[in-house]
Symmetry: C2
Subunit: 402 residues, 2 copies
């Protein structure tokens, strides 16, 4: 294959470790004599059609490491979804710059973009390798045991619920935490890592994989309140009813959709407030609070899983190796031959990953549809990092009444 330039870009929602992947590409590529320069496209595919590149070969290793440790997409992102015509314009630019290797870090939508781009390259006979680098806090990419970005977001959600447990124990009431997750409940389920003491929350966990029933929700909360005198609830923003309609959209007066046709679920407290209102109205509960985690959970500065960061770096490095050493296209996937804990990487066909959504397997969810199993905890705990902070309680004995 021709020597040429490398192009790397980031698409979709940011994560806390997505810059690790770009830096993994940039540093790994420096080892190959045939690589002239590593370009970064600003704002993903949008930067490609606009010929908006920076030359990452001019970055110092020191600054690359500093950016790698910074959350969110350092090359900036986009939600553009290229069609045939968009791709044709991308190739025109890439050809002009003699780009022969394209690495795109992103989720379901981004992997589909890589698939389209790759197909276009073949159709027009342009010598080209394109590799999708996995990234999503939703953890919903097919063929992967888990996805870079998820572990750090899971760590944030877990630490957040630890705090909500402690806070709500001090001043009893009901606390609903609304977590990102449109179709997959992995991140919401990670709230269960906050449980240390037997009475710790979240006492109830609702995910999109199980239909949400208002009646069952009310009965669940009523039961927990009678037992514990307080209740911590984790809810995915994407919970839906039996008919598949999102609970959040049922009450939205104006529905906002992005270029992929997705309805806005984050960046609004509506779902949490609706559920809190339900509990106040129907169960006559007084202190009901709803916290919607919103964008805090995916780019928060300073909460990173060490394992997640390492793997995000490695999928970038592996992407370069698959393309430059093996001359292959595809999507880098993570497998876990050792449950607690070791990973290995492989290259899956783009068509196996693109546009597909992985859901939580049944064995991770309890029969009542309101909690997770021990199998999920064993799966998730290592991903949140080698050292999760843990809460502690006083153990002093009661003083006898006089």
């Amino acid at each position: 294959m021709n020597p040429g330039n490398i192009l790397v870009a980031q698409g979709g929602g940011p994560t806390a470790v997505i810059n690790q992947s770009v830096v993994g590409v940039a540093l790994e590529a420096r080892k190959y004599a045939q690589v002239r320069s590593v370009y970064g496209a600003l704002h993903g595919v949008r930067g490609i059609v606009k010929e908006d590149f920076i030359n990452l070969s001019r970055e110092t290793p020191d600054n690359l490491e500093l950016v790698a440790a910074t959350p969110s997409s350092g090359l900036l992102s986009t939600r553009d979804k290229p069609d045939e015509e968009y791709c044709a314009r991308m190739f025109e630019i890439m050809r002009k710059h003699d780009i022969r290797y394209f690495f795109y870090a992103g989720g379901n939508d981004s992997s589909d973009t890589v698939r389209i781009v790759n197909q276009q390259a073949r159709d027009i006979g342009y010598e080209f390798r394109a590799v999708h680098i996995p990234k999503t806090i939703d953890n919903d990419l097919a063929c992967n045991d888990h996805c870079p970005g998820f572990g750090s977001a899971a760590r944030f959600v877990s630490q957040a619920f630890m705090g909500l447990n402690l806070d709500n124990r001090a001043l009893e009431g009901v606390l609903i935490g609304v977590v990102m997750g449109r179709h997959a409940g992995f991140l919401t389920a990670a709230s269960a890592l906050a449980q240390k003491y037997p009475d710790d929350g979240p006492h109830l966990i609702y995910v999109p994989e199980r239909p949400f029933s208002t009646d069952r929700f009310l009965a669940d909360v009523d039961r927990v309140m009678h037992k514990e005198g307080l209740c911590i609830i984790a809810v995915s923003e994407g919970i839906q009813d039996e008919a598949g309609e999102a609970i959040a959209t049922k009450l939205a007066t104006t529905v906002e959709r992005d270029a992929h046709g997705n309805v806005q679920l984050s960046g609004t407290g509506a779902l949490g407030d609706l559920l809190a209102g339900l509990l106040k109205d129907k169960l006559k509960l007084k202190r009901v609070r709803a916290d919607t985690f919103g964008y805090l959970q995916r780019s928060f500065m300073g909460v990173v899983s060490d394992r997640d960061a390492r793997e995000a770096r490695e999928v970038g490095e592996m992407a370069v190796q698959y393309a430059l050493l093996d001359d292959k296209d595809g999507s880098v996937v993570i497998r876990r031959p050792i449950l607690d804990y070791g990973v290995e990487y492989a290259l899956a066909p783009l068509a196996d990953v693109a546009g597909k959504t992985r859901h939580m397997p049944d064995e991770f969810l309890n029969g009542e549809g309101n909690g997770v199993t021990d199998a999920f905890l064993r799966y998730c705990r290592p991903l949140a990092g080698s050292t999760l902070p843990r809460p502690h309680r006083f153990r002093a004995p009661k003083v006898a009444a006089i």
Copy 2:
């Protein structure tokens, strides 16, 4: 003064470091031979009237240190505000248990409780010392340079806005972050610590100390959008109009009040969603998001300012010294003779602190009422801890168009 037992309790909203103060009391008290036992009242003054105590003298130093490092009120809290009759019941219990020293960690309301209790003790001639230990993420206690709990919450808010900056730069739009603060804007203002690069947000900061005008708000956002193409906004939950009415309550259908007559502002996304709706309607902006930080900001596990933790410990230790060595009542206050950075402690009369609210001084707020001054940054930066994480950007040069 008689030897006797010590009682320590926590009141009001939790902070990330309030357990440091209780542990400071417990460990300092172990040095005094005349102290028989250190009791902790569960759920603040409520636990006193219910005779619900644990014996902290039976805690190991190791477990005390583990609890000290755990956020929220380990002794649990209350929002009860004792009246004369409530106090009479408290004394009955305290006398039965030979409690001669009472330490209560809390905010404005709790300091007022200490004042009432202390007055009652004098009135009935009960030999008794009561010291208020300052605590509040709102940073609004009179006589203090700053309050334990604020620094860690400021650190959380700052790290959160660093993440929102990075996230919103990747996928441009408007992001409103709603921060706790009913009457004082210190915590919302701490969002300014997130600014590193000249174009970093928050670009606009609104606090309760300046009347909030919808028209000025719209003009401010419009100006920032034209200049930056994106806008990050920090808003106190307690912003109010010229007439002093809270913007949040203007839209609430049902208004919830606590025992102190305070309206519920936290635990709902309503204010953020209202402001986001305004921007969409009036400025025709498309991507407008609102994140309400809610309870995450005051008990989040794992985000603590080292200076804040140290001072929270010391105000507990000093409270014991003032009562047992100096035989005095009062409220421990923090002064800062060295701006960057050193503190000293003093004992203020309870009446000088109780029930008073400190607001942001004019020199901390800009003339437009939509931002903070350098004086505020110099004041606030050390409080968030000796090492705040910092974001980094790529510095690579643009690739020339072909």
